[in-house]
């Protein structure tokens, strides 16, 4: 059982010429193995900033990040060990893989860096990981531009799982994929979570999938947490008006237009 906790996390960016921008304001969050937490919010709400701070690509301005109750290490062997435990899947499958290197390189690097298996066993482990994400082991010799978006994202997931982490941060893992294949990738994530007992932070702007795949939903608005709770509760009985607005924004075929709800900008009656 591993738990990552964010307490009172604040992040301030310095903007050239006009002072500061508050990206995160006093955020509390926790991820535990075996559970999925969805972080929901619109663009600019600070979701990706949280991901970057968790993976230590950026430093928080104030607040604490605790792994199993202890502050996370910032350098040296401790940082290495931390990084092995917490991995990230990036949003853009076209940009998160190095166009120059093969799939094998991408998956083998973390294996070698963290010495997950002895050198001799790397090839087998790579093949095993590819199978785990439902890709053919033969894909290992290909380069990213030879793969489809969905395949690339699976490779990214395999790369994230290579170090056998306890926690996974998935930053909008399917928003740049075709709608028809999103479910497949999300189902894969759900299966992997169950099989490996992963704790997943699922960052998204899509309420529907958030509800479907997570146990808990945290709603972020302009850097502040405005609502949190079990998924069904938050969706069916939203308390904050922003959450309500989010929910109402998803199209519902059973709802009627013209009831004065939506602003009709054209004004025409055709």
């Amino acid at each position: 059982m591993t738990t990552l906790e964010l307490r009172g996390l604040t992040k301030r960016y310095r903007v050239r010429g006009s002072g500061h921008m508050l990206a995160l304001d006093d955020v509390d969050l926790s991820i535990t193995s075996g559970r999925t937490v969805a972080l929901v919010g619109q663009s600019g709400s600070g979701k990706s900033t949280i991901a970057k701070i968790i993976t230590q690509l950026e430093r928080e301005t104030s607040g604490r990040v605790l792994l199993d109750g202890a502050p996370i290490p910032r350098r040296g062997r401790g940082l290495r060990a931390y990084r092995q435990q917490v991995r990230m899947v990036f949003q853009d499958p076209f940009a998160s893989l190095n166009p120059y290197h093969t799939v094998h390189h991408h998956i083998a690097r973390p294996l070698l860096l963290d010495r997950v298996v002895p050198r001799a066993g790397v090839d087998d482990e790579v093949a095993g990981l590819l199978e785990k994400v439902r890709l053919e082991p033969g894909l290992a010799a290909r380069r990213p531009h030879e793969l489809s978006g969905g395949q690339r994202q699976r490779v990214a997931i395999a790369r994230a799982l290579a170090s056998r982490p306890a926690l996974l941060v998935a930053d909008e893992p399917v928003s740049m994929l075709d709608v028809s294949i999103r479910l497949g990738v999300l189902n894969l994530l759900a299966e992997l979570q169950e099989a490996d007992g992963l704790g997943v932070l699922y960052i998204t702007h899509d309420l529907a999938t958030a509800r479907h795949f997570s146990d808990e939903i945290v709603v972020l608005h302009h850097g502040r947490v405005v609502e949190r709770g079990p998924s069904d509760d938050v969706i069916l009985h939203p308390r904050h008006e922003y959450t309500r607005a989010l929910r109402d924004a998803s199209p519902d075929p059973d709802r009627h237009f013209g009831g004065g709800r939506t602003a009709d900008t054209t004004g025409s009656r055709s």
Binding site: T55, Q56, L57, L79, R80, R83, Q84, R87, M88, F90, Q91, D92, A95, S96, L97, N98, P99, Y100, H101, R109, P110, L113, D114, A156, R159, S163
Partner: protein, 288 residues
């Protein structure tokens, strides 16, 4: 990037010059300074393909032998300058804060300093500079442009997700630069290298023409220097025209290679002509 038409043409011409340089002793009918007092200032003929100088030296042989000096210095200067450009440029792009800014300022300073006056002053100091020294002087004035381009490319690469992913996985810095980023910079490095060689060739021939580099280093600029000094003007066109043409041809070949690389990097340039032609065909067909 080396398979499109422009690159291939450029590479072929460059290859021919390289062959000429390597096989100068075999191809040239005479030694470069071999004097034939019976044939002074002769226009091109069967024996002397490009005519002779005022001392009866065969101009074609001079050009053939001079190729060696030009190519050697050009390539050496190119290698040196590109090496410096990669080290400074990539570091300037990757490092943030004052370190990156000061490296960038350094390359900007060298970029603005006018090259030729500096080269003239420095080169005039030495009585018999070796080829390496000349290359070094050319490299010092020529590295800054490549560094600037590499810095811009590195900065854009640095924010790409796959670099962030490598960082998040705990890859050491040197591996991120050497293994993850450098391979994506090869096109830019190649283009910068070619540009630097072109500048070095022009710089070398200019310095030789001006007489700042002693005549012991035979290159095409030296031929022009002799022509100028010994009244080749304007009647003895065979003396000064071929050397200049050779410079232009080599420069054009290098530029073609550079364009080929540019088109590879910017796919819009590649298909621009083809698409426009296709469009014309289509509109013609539809209005027929």
């Amino acid at each position: 990037m080396f398979t499109n038409r422009k690159s291939i043409t450029g590479l072929v011409i460059l290859g021919l010059f390289a062959l000429l340089a390597a096989l100068a002793d075999v191809v040239a009918p005479f030694g470069p300074l071999e004097k034939d007092y019976t044939a002074l200032k002769q226009p091109p003929s069967a024996t002397h393909w490009l005519g002779t100088t005022h001392l009866g030296e065969d101009i074609f042989s001079q050009i053939a032998h001079g190729t060696r000096g030009v190519l050697l210095v050009g390539l050496t200067a190119g290698v040196l300058a590109t090496l410096v450009a990669v080290i400074v440029g990539v570091s300037a792009g990757f490092l943030t804060g004052w370190r990156g800014e000061s490296l960038s300022a350094l390359s900007n300073v060298f970029l603005v300093l006018p090259a030729i006056p500096l080269m003239i002053i420095v080169a005039s100091q030495y009585d018999d500079p070796s080829l390496f020294l000349i290359s070094a002087v050319l490299a010092i004035t020529g590295w800054a442009w490549g560094a600037r381009v590499l810095r811009a490319q590195t900065m854009s690469l640095r924010s790409r997700d796959f670099v962030q992913a490598a960082r998040a996985n705990g890859e050491p810095l040197w591996r991120i630069i050497a293994v993850e980023m450098l391979p994506n910079l090869t096109a830019v490095i190649a283009s910068s290298f070619v540009g630097t060689v072109t500048a070095a060739v022009l710089g070398l021939t200019t310095l030789a023409f001006v007489g700042v580099i002693p005549i012991t280093n035979l290159n095409w600029g030296t031929i022009l220097y002799w022509a100028q000094q010994n009244g080749a003007f304007p009647e003895f066109w065979w003396w000064y025209v071929p050397a200049g043409l050779a410079i232009a041809l080599l420069g054009a070949a290098l530029s073609l290679i550079s364009f080929g690389i540019d088109e590879y990097v910017n796919p819009r340039l590649r298909s621009a002509g083809e698409r426009a032609r296709l469009q014309k065909k289509r509109t013609k067909r539809s209005t027929a």
